[in-house]
Amino acid sequence: MDKLLTISGSPHVHTDDSIRKIMFSVIYAMVPAMLVSVYFFGLDAIRIIAISVISCVVVEYLIQKYLINGGMTINDGSAIVTGVLLAFNVPSNLPTWIIIVGAIVSIGVAKMAFGGIGKNPFNPALVGRVFLLISFPVQMTSWPVPKPLFSNTVLDAVTGPTPLGILKEGLSAGKTVDELMAQMPGYLNELIGFQGGSLGEMSALALLLGAVFMFYKKVITWHIPVSYLLTAFVFTGILWLIDPSQYANPLFHLVTGGLIIGVFYMATDMVSTPMAPKGQIIFGIGCGVLTILIRLWGGYPEGVSFAILIMNAFAPLINTGFKPTRFGIIKPAKA
């Protein structure tokens, strides 16, 4: 035998799982939502998603080749995931150059500047989205009216508000919730996607399908989504019970806006969230409270992005404070 034996520390077997597999599972989970967005927004959706993904990958490649001189990680698919998520967070009529700026900020600033994959304290797609929202508020909030493919309806308006936008403006104008609900597309439509909004916010159903796929592949666990949704539900539920004329009911809050995509795709980002199960539940609760606070009393109609980013900042503290359940801890006997 001329080839030498190998020696290494145990274990000598390894699971098939890899970063690439995890990232691609997430990408496949987002396919239903991508298809829905193409259905509603046509070529614009394809444009946005394609430009976003390509820009993210190119930015990561250029930075790793010329600036950092580290290993090349574009093969693991994380840049693609960021690209798709960023695309989901913007309206489909966004000019191309703005999306490219968003990609540069997401990958260049929020990810590579901190050291690349695994080192970013904030969710890169959300950082990009918030940056665009603050820098280009007009372009980022002129929501196009969704025009389903192959339909013959003639629309007189080109842009229109999102349900949350309608709610916030209407309430501050003095109308009650019931009056405003009449203007809404209705729950079923919101669930399926006939509502104004960014590319990814359209169909809660498509997003839930993807979430089920991710659960099946064990890419995400129940801790953050359940605690986040439950907190939002309970918080809005209590307020709605107190004054239904001022506060929309919890179901409305669940299906509108970016809550579903935020809960299952953004708040479950592995890098920027706590590691221990207890910590993840605290994280989810915090996100839920902040989201509803911003929606109801903040300056923006949608609070998911900011809530998640704020909780990302707390993740290291939560990690230190909430450790996993240890084996063999004797509880001190009560005197």
Binding site: L4, L5, T6, I7, S8, G9
Partner: protein
Amino acid sequence: MNNVILVAVISLSAIGATAAVILYFVAQKFKVIEDPRIDEVEELLPKANCGGCGYAGCRAFAEGIVKSGNLENFFCPVGGNAIMSQVAQIMGLVAEEKEPMIAVLRCNGSRANAPAKIEYDGPATCAFTHNLYSGESGCPYGCLGLGDCVVSCTFGALYIDKATGLPVVIGDKCTACGACVKACPRKIFELRNKGKKDRRIFVCCVNEEKGAPAKKNCEVACIGCGKCVKACAYDAITLKNNLAYIDFEKCKLCRKCVEECPTKSILELNFPPRKVKPAIVEETSNQSSPAEVTQ
């Protein structure tokens, strides 16, 4: 309008002045009185904070000197004799001249001399592999070549030679701070005298196994035969646990042991090449002249 500006200026100035006065008095009250010599000594030091002196940083070294009042047990290997004499001047003492030292790798188990019998796959850290197995060559005392020493050197004086797989000490940069000595899990590094004209002789092996297993793993292992001990006219070499050791204080760099060693385990560094044999005629022997020997 003018009134508003005047009021603002006066009130802010008053606040500023009050704050300044308070700060001044507080600074005076909580001032730390320190021997000014500590600062002076610290100024002279290289400020590498490498710990080579055995103290926690250059400041601690300076404090230690000034507080104890003498220079015993205080030597900065990075600054060397030059710095120590300046420090001594401030303290009004005389600094003892110390021989400059250098880190020496006492292993020559390169890829050629100690061929690999197994391939290692895993993190490149010597500390871990030392616990895992004896090493790719099989020698349980030999250098693992994974570079814990390189990482520990804060002066950039070490690098792993790709051809031999062994670390190399860059003489000009080495300050003999001792970090590599501590980092090596097999204690292969030693701080030895740099030697006159940068010349030194040492046994390049730390293997304590008996001759047969040692030589099986590495061509240039010390087999503990003792020929060098006999050859040394200055009693500089001792044999213990099948391993020879040259005391650098006693070594006079005569190179006799290097010739005697059957496995070429003793290395001489920075010497001029030897004259080619026939051997130098010794005065005590009755040997005839070289020309006659060829008959």
